[in-house]
């Protein structure tokens, strides 16, 4: 009985330093796992997919577009342009209040308040505050063109496809 009591009464200094190290390890581990759990929770709350209309969609094989054509996709509010072997996708959503712009010979024209844009989509006149957006166009593994409305590219970026 007295033996065990003795063994517990170690010199205070040695005990203190050991306790401090052990305590630090424990606190560190707890803090680490706590922050990792917090991070995981944050990741969990961020949706990986949403139920809105898909931002990434296929528009068919390059061969279905003729050179010089501009084909508008009403629902997705984009326009696919082919010039020679070059492809580009331009938004048709007016930067003023969001009407769908129409393609004309010299560029785009908004039917709502008369904003006009040139062929690069830069705002030329009217109330539109900024140019039309250009989106990324790429190829899917099966050869379909894929438009990704989540990724904007600088105006004048074309995808070159060798026939």
């Amino acid at each position: 009985m007295s033996d065990t009591k003795l063994s517990k009464d170690r010199p205070p200094k040695e005990g203190n330093s050991r306790r401090r190290v052990l305590g630090m390890i424990a606190t560190g581990a707890l803090a680490l796992s706590g922050s990792a759990l917090g991070l995981l929770t944050a990741v969990f709350f961020k949706p990986r997919v949403t139920y809105g209309p898909p931002q990434k969609f296929r528009v068919g094989k390059p061969a279905t577009f003729t050179s010089g054509s501009e084909i508008a996709y009403q629902k997705q509010a984009v326009l696919v342009r082919r010039e020679g072997n070059q492809f580009a996708v331009i938004s048709t959503k007016c930067t003023h209040l969001g009407c769908t712009v129409n393609a004309t010979d010299i560029g785009f024209e908004c039917p709502c308040h008369g904003s006009t844009y040139d062929r690069r989509g830069s705002n030329v006149s009217g109330p539109a505050p900024s140019p039309l957006a250009w989106f990324l166009i790429s190829l899917a593994p099966n050869g379909d063109l894929v438009v990704d409305k989540d990724k904007k590219v600088p105006a004048g970026t074309y995808l070159e496809i060798k026939a």
Binding site: L22, L30, L32, L40, F57, L139, P141
Partner: protein, 571 residues
């Protein structure tokens, strides 16, 4: 000290678990499938632009949101099955195989689960393929996938649905239509309605219910069909396709169509032998009955039945078998009177039977199908017959039964049951010889001399409705345990008794039974069966019971105790 060590160990453990979870959440199965697809696609393509696009592609959840087919569908199948629209992957193993061409069904508008079922939102094979026990629509594989065409397509079914079409033919061939209702297809009333069974049951359950109908529902009267596996598979394909209204129909058109279908009367046919033969074959009679060599192994033999039973009997029986013979498990096939007559004509004109000389041969030809080759009442169709065939090894019963009544039962049949009158085939001497054979081989024991019973008390009062209702109150106290509250022989004790308690509503049986016989059975009981002697009742009470049975079986007021009736009865 110890508590500190414990805390450290615990906190380190916690850290380890958290790290493991974090590691696992960054790696999922679909990552590796998609990565493999991109690697293979980049290697196989010749187009450098595609190669570049594939190399820069990132792993992501791909989903098709499909509206316009009933509920909204979210199909993430392409997350793993990334190659479904890539012609370079025609013969790769799953999950990276290209989908076969289905030209009018683009994936972006139809999605995947509309045909394949499964759980479109799942991102692991276990979830997405609906392998969880609680997911109602597990993935459909070939050939069951064919059932999905019926979600939109009406008959005639499109090309490539061979199993479905065969299943729909087999459903008629096995006479399933007799018992089961499928709207716009069949109108049986005996079995469960199957109009939307495809929505309710999984494939496994369907197979199990066909293999052994009694496994899930102990009181099911559905026979166990002797069908090859391929037939069962095709029938299940057809059943899975029964999902009620198709997506393209609106409820009102559907309802009108069904009403019109129900109102169409069965076709009238000329009453000729040839028509009777085709009707007999088309109605699937042979999927249960036996005729000549073809045998459904479920119901009585019809080879000589047309000669034993009158044409009137056959026609009446076919009009509504269950009403005509209570306890029969034969469904109503809703035939026109002319078709019934044609079938009766066909049955009457079967080939002559050459009766073997030896009683043992006669027994195996005429009796063994129901009473069993060993006389134990376990013939191949015995469990489909109500009341069950007599068990000849029940020596107590047969030693009590007067010999003459057994002979009469053979010659004149037992009305209201499956026992036909063999008069047309057997002479009285032959019947006696046949029963002598049965007694020698199955009953065995020598017949003890029977104590003569005391003369029966004459009825103290005649039949009246009041007497019958007095009988009813006694019945509800004394008899319902076996005979059932309705007197249909299905009381709570009935399943444990063999022979089963008599169905007291059987009109044909009781119309040939004299009051005295009934009274005798109540007073002395019936030896070798569960019926005890009711000597605790008074004479008046017993006669009230007799009258109650008369009213139940619609044979009152008291049938004439003629000699004829006593003879032709038979237990």
């Amino acid at each position: 000290m110890q508590i500190r060590v414990a805390i450290i160990i615990c906190s380190l453990l916690l850290l380890g678990v958290v790290a493991a979870i974090a590691l696992r959440s960054t790696k999922e199965d679909w990552h590796s499938y998609q990565q493999r697809y991109y690697d293979l696609a980049a290697r196989r393509t010749k187009n450098p632009a595609v190669k570049k696009a594939v190399q820069s592609a990132s792993l992501e959840i791909k989903q098709d949101i499909v509206k316009g087919f009933g509920k909204l569908r979210v199909d993430r199948c392409r997350t793993c099955h990334a190659a479904i629209d890539d012609p370079n992957f025609k013969s790769d193993p799953q999950p990276l195989r290209a989908h076969p061409d289905m030209p009018p069904h683009p994936f972006s508008t139809f999605g995947c689960t509309i045909c394949h079922e499964g759980n479109g939102r799942g991102l692991s094979a276990h979830d997405a393929h609906g392998r969880s026990h609680f997911w109602p629509e597990p993935l459909l594989m070939e050939p069951y996938i064919q059932s999905s065409c019926v979600r939109c397509h009406e008959p005639p079914y499109p090309k490539g649905t061979d199993h479905l079409q065969r299943g729909s033919r087999l459903f008629v061939k096995y006479a399933c239509v007799g018992c089961h209702t499928i709207q716009n297809f069949s109108r049986g009333k005996l079995g469960a309605e199957l109009t939307d069974v495809g929505n309710r049951l999984k494939l496994q359950a369907m197979h199990a219910k066909i293999i052994n109908p009694k496994a899930a529902v102990a009181l099911s009267i559905m026979p166990t069909f002797n069908m090859p596996k391929q037939d069962r598979v095709d029938i299940v394909v057809f059943l899975k396709s029964r999902r009620g209204r198709t997506i393209v129909e609106d409820p009102i058109t559907y309802h009108r169509k069904n009403k019109r279908w129900l109102a169409t009367p069965p076709p009238r046919v000329p009453v000729t032998l040839a028509v009777g033969k085709t009707a007999f074959e088309r109605r699937g009679c042979l999927s249960c009955h036996k005729l000549g060599r073809s045998d459904g192994r479920l119901a009585p033999e019809l080879t000589w039945l047309g000669r034993l039973r009158s044409a009137r009997y056959v026609v009446d029986h076919l009009r509504d078998p269950r009403r005509h013979t209570p306890g029969s498990s034969m469904p109503n096939f809703f035939m026109s009177p002319s078709e019934r007559s044609a079938i009766a004509l066909f049955l009457r004109n079967q080939r002559e039977v050459t009766l073997p000389q030896l009683p043992s041969r006669q027994y195996s030809l005429l009796c063994a199908r129901c009473h069993g080759p060993k006389g134990d009442g376990k013939g191949i169709i015995a469990h489909n017959l109500v009341p069950r065939p007599r068990v000849f090894t029940n020596a107590r019963f047969f030693n009590w039964l007067p010999e003459k009544r057994a002979h009469d039962a053979i010659l004149h049949g037992v009305p209201g049951t499956a026992m036909p009158p063999f008069e047309a085939l057997l002479s009285r001497a032959q019947a006696e010889a046949l029963f002598a054979f049965v007694r020698k081989h199955f009953i065995g024991k020598a017949r003890p001399t029977r104590k003569s019973r005391r003369l029966l008390e004459p009825p103290p009062f005649a039949y009246s409705a009041a007497a019958a209702s007095r009988g009813r109150s006694i019945f509800l106290k004394r008899c319902y345990g076996c005979h059932g509250r309705l007197g249909d022989g299905r009381g709570p004790n009935a399943p444990e008794m063999l022979p089963r308690p008599r169905n007291l509503r059987n009109h044909h049986f009781f119309s040939r039974l004299a009051d005295e016989r009934l009274y005798e059975s109540i007073k002395y009981g019936i030896v070798g069966t569960g019926m005890p002697a009711w000597d605790v009742l008074t004479v008046k009470q017993r006669w009230s019971l007799v009258y109650f049975v008369r009213s139940l079986s619609r044979t009152g007021p008291a049938a004439e105790p003629s000699k004829d009736a006593t003879q032709k009865g038979g237990q």
